[in-house]
Symmetry: D3
Subunit: 293 residues, 6 copies
């Protein structure tokens, strides 16, 4: 994949190792960049249970794939990044709809199912390579849970976001409520959008820091995401993956703990070939190359 | 209260269960919405000890009141949300002014008093129903401690804020220093306003995310807050109160811990009648009704 | 120093107790204000190991100096706050370049060195007096690590920032990755700048809350920083230092823990002379004076 | 109370301020010592809801009572410390037995009730004075929850303990599962007794460290507890209450955090009169006296 | 399996669902009890990589198997519970022995392998049903890591334990160092056995609380473990699994956090049929039966 | 030092690098073992401020000294390990006895002093090499604080321990209250000895796990400690120091956090020469040698 040429439109060549997936296509628009597309445009890319399980497997594979150094996630079609959970599909869910009458026993099944759902979506956060979510159009409910597990969020100016869950009678449980308050700076805004389920625009998302860039149209947005990923993919994978790991560590640990973890991390990372190679390339003003990681 | 009609101005009908309070009026401008007003306009709504103790009791009662699903807090009169602690009253405080000479013994009394003060103000944060703080005019010192315990903060464009405590010789101890850094995104700004005690405007508060909306004039601001609360009050109380609980949990726990707590929370919440009722109403495009919680 | 007159330009009189330092000058432009300047303008204020060790000693001394109540940090010369680590110097570093071949043994030396480096830079955060970082021009790599340990960050409009470390093949390890996500509100932006190592401007830094003020030119920026520090230095040092301590505590502890720590802190702080003196000065509209701390 | 004479049997004089309680008697067998007895011997001191609410109020009062410096808790009658929850009473509990059919709504009531129950029993842990639990005879279920909140546990050799909850179909929820693993050293033993609900003897309790002393018979055990409390009550209350606070802090915080909290605590405690008085009394080999706290 | 008759020797009938495993046999000696035996007696039950991966799968399956309510783990053969890691097998390990020369890249592979190893062994701790480890003979290195993830540890009097890892040049990394200090009460003893790698006996293990029972010979020990598991398996699975979950939660959370989590847990668990059924059976002195969970 | 011959009595040869210390002698009784003796026997080894500052420096030096792999700490003379703080010296302490009257200002000096005292004693815990405390005779107050920072504690049968602080009017603040509850298993015992300041014997210390061995007489005890240290010093220093680090990490972190930290630690430690060398020596039944660390 490292040698694949990239088309101008970000389509890229399909990655053979990922051809068996049913709901996601994975292409390589640039060297070391994987572009994952949610492929259910006729249903506004809404997620069934089979889909979110597959989503988890895709990102587990990407995490371990030494040919991938950065990932872009987008939704196929013009209309939606994803409309969220497929409500029709959910209404036939065997756990939710089981005829188990004992609340304690029913609860056990539901805990297990929510845990599995969280783990599948959380696979994107655990993926050791940075992920750029490029969103457009409809981005509701699960769309927020998913994008909260990305590293960088950018969107098209026409994106319509909503933390939709209270309108279907539940507290969002796949990660939005756990992650969103730590992703943006204004708790007042977070509670506003989570308690009212109201729409918010690309501009509002930018103003509060939920996304860090807004572009015109889906095509442009995806292209920018791919270029951003390509930029990252050219750098030392030791440096890049360490940076992702340490920033994620900082979110859930005290400063003292992260500093100590950092000492340990770099005591081995700095022994690799990338650090001297990068220094040399800076001094010589050459473009460095880095071995697979 | 659920059946009370709301006036256009947000005044609402008085809630009988709250008529004995001396410093606060509680009305119901919309179904399931309680509007709490700080009622000491001749003193710029400044707080005496009796007031902050009563404040705690009001919100404990609201938390347990199944007829209330969302709350608005505002200050009576044109001039102030609240000017903060009543300094004259504080200067006669028996603990601060006790003739106890032993620093260790005096400290014990002071710890107990600060703890009680913190608990009274913190009752608004513990209230299981969302609270919208609608601020205007003067909002100094304790005004910030109080509004930091609200879920959503909005204000009139004429609001004048300040974390005033260093100017009276103390570090703010009723919650501002513990909560403000977790409410807004810029630590540099937080330290600026806390260390200098300078005023900041509604626009500055909006820019840093301390408030999420600014409106013209007190009347408009309070009306927007009531409409916002009414919007929330129409939704499933199971979903709304769960959302508040989980967002507050996220502030003080790691992502992993909040995700696990969420699994447990929704394993019982989803067994209630609200989830299927809300789903059905979405599919049928009808307005759902939800039983008291 | 308390009696020193301040010049208009912020130069101030040299502080004798700090005259032995080689890479930093310390002057007193205003009563109780220390102005620390990084003094290696011919090398764009880049840091060698000797420099960062000295940096730690300067701030340990300032922390204990009862004549100092607020500090400004800036870079000497027109071009740079600091260009970061002196790469040439680093390339001769004995630990990094040691001929130790055993990775486990080499790692031990590197952990120790990173820990010492972190501790030296972290001395500014531990300094009990507030520090205002006034930045201009080039501010790369270590410049971000350093300024993350300041309390308030302001900059000149010409400042060019970058978290440069991935471009030299490493994850930033002197504090940027541990502190930056807790200093600004947008994680998406943090990961963007940390993973791409791209430049960002003063305006962008202001928009995300990394700095809280931008001014025209270095001279103006430094003067504003000094005035800000002087404003803080006029207030009760008991109140000011308590405010810094409690805000730093809040960053790494739960709200409940910080509230409890606050009770204890103020149970002794309020027994000092500053609280009644400040109250009295407010009532009498006089300017208070406070004893050294 | 400080002047009350103590009888040889530990009965002591009744404390007037506590005479209104219905289920508990409080006497003063020694200066500054309060002896609380569970007074429902005909029901093996089993707890109804009214009782555990009163239990909480007794210990809140003791915590604030400057005439009390140490507390002993025992059960009236020959047969039981306490047989635990009054199952008959619990079977008529309005929350457990409510006709609320909605699991989500029923859960809210149950959470509130468990929280209140935990808080009532936890009042003994929060009591600022050390509590010695002197147990004998039957000590089942709630007996363990209660004694886990004491500071020191001693028992008669005939005591029969059991963590009985799994045998009535529930996980113990009033504190045993949260506290017991942190009170004794062997997790294997903790899980054995909690999962099997089997009896364990005084000797077994001593061997694993659940109690720290075993004596012959109830009378002797209570007398030893009173003497132990009297010994503690003769010491500086500043030192004693600080020691309890800091040991409890250590249980739930890291070593670094407790050390820092300790610095702050003693920076004021050491300014009291007790430290020099105690030092002096040691040097002069005299018995010191300490003012009320 | 619930209806299987148990033999006197604890052999039990094979559980069909587990017949495909190669290194472990799973039988059912008593209703709802699974007995897992490590089956590599000719190699002293030493673990190869294939074995520890399979170990993880066995316990994941047991966790989800509603026919299993308690588990016993023992080692086949007379000589050993397990001699730990199969050193010969480890010496051919592809990750450890890879010809990757770059320390940073080699470290990545090793981290991943240790994580997978930890997760496989940790599956026993995550298994929702209680596990009793019944140990005998040789129990070295990995034997300690494994048994630390059991709920209850018992052993034969001839057991010879050692935390062997320092003698093969590494710090134990599969869980002993993370869990042992939280399982027994004496840190001095923990460090003694971990730093010296010396043997310790069954009696010593009992004295420090590492095991909670010692019996004569392997056969007797396994029989006691099976009876203990059978006792647990007769109780309400809602109560038993909740007790395991809450005790494990307590280990890694503050008391306040566990109490809150407990409120939520029991607010649904108490709505199940087991609580009233168990209460009734206590009152009627009948043996209750409980539905599968 | 590695080549020094050891005498039978544990006296060893003086280590030149430590000859300048005034209150401590450091000898090398065995290869790679340092024996630190508290040298103030005429004052029962009581600590003045100069002594505890020197204590910190000794252990900082030992931590960095590649010739030392294990340390023994004992007290010179027949009578005492140490009688604790030198009360006479403390009564002239400038901070405690300062004429500063402002409680807030006095508190600042006291916090700083306690922090420095804690840091000096804590240097033994931070020392990267294992420390065995060999105690005898009088071991009061500070003796407990000090030994709590050792890794392994053993004592002579005549040792008389007490947590003496409450008897001189203060809560122990140099580490006993923060560490003791995490070192032994019985909280009831910990509170008993901390609240009563009563003596406890070597046998009692062994029973609760405070010490892990008791021997007859000082000479024998010190010899055992030296042999224990020598045993440790013969092993891989990479394995030994990693084991100390990870066990200390476990005390203050969750199991999940320690497991993750362990992955990172061993991903570099296992790349050293010690792991293959130790494996080989096991297979060949030879005694391995390890390079300095």
């Amino acid at each position: 994949m490292a040698s694949s040429s990239s088309s101008s439109s970000g389509a890229g060549s399909p990655l053979a190792a990922y051809s068996a997936y049913k709901f996601f296509t994975v292409t390589s628009p640039k060297p070391f960049v994987a572009h994952v597309q949610i492929q259910r445009p006729d249903k506004l890319n809404a997620f069934s249970e089979a889909m979110w399980l597959e989503f988890g497997r895709v990102f587990q594979q990407l995490s371990a794939d030494a040919d991938v150094r950065a990932v872009v996630l987008s939704g196929a079609g013009d209309k939606a990044f994803t409309a969220g959970l497929d409500v029709q599909s959910a209404s036939q869910d065997s756990t939710l709809m089981s005829d188990q009458k004992d609340p304690a026993r029913k609860a056990k099944g539901m805990r297990a199912q929510i845990e599995e759902f969280q783990a599948s979506i959380g696979a994107m956060e655990k993926c050791e390579k940075p992920v750029v979510a490029a969103m457009h159009g409809i981005a509701l409910g699960l769309a927020i849970d998913i994008s909260c597990t990305a590293d960088i969020r950018i969107c098209a100016s026409n994106t319509r976001f909503a933390v939709k869950e209270v309108d279907i009678g539940l507290a969002a449980d796949i990660g939005t409520l756990a992650r969103l308050p730590k992703i943006v700076g204004s708790t007042s805004w977070v509670k506003d959008v989570c308690l009212t389920a109201r729409d918010f625009s690309a501009q509002e998302a930018l103003a509060v820091g939920f996304v860090s860039q807004v572009h015109e149209g889906k095509e442009k947005t995806v292209q920018v995401a791919i270029d951003l990923a390509a930029n990252i993919a050219e750098k030392s994978p030791v440096a890049v993956q360490g940076t992702k790991e340490l920033l994620n560590h900082a979110r859930d640990h005290s400063t003292v703990d992260t500093l100590r973890y950092t000492q340990l991390w770099n005591s081995v990372a700095l022994q690799g070939a990338d650090f001297p190679a990068a220094i040399l390339s800076v001094l010589k003003k050459q473009k460095p190359t880095f071995a697979k990681l």
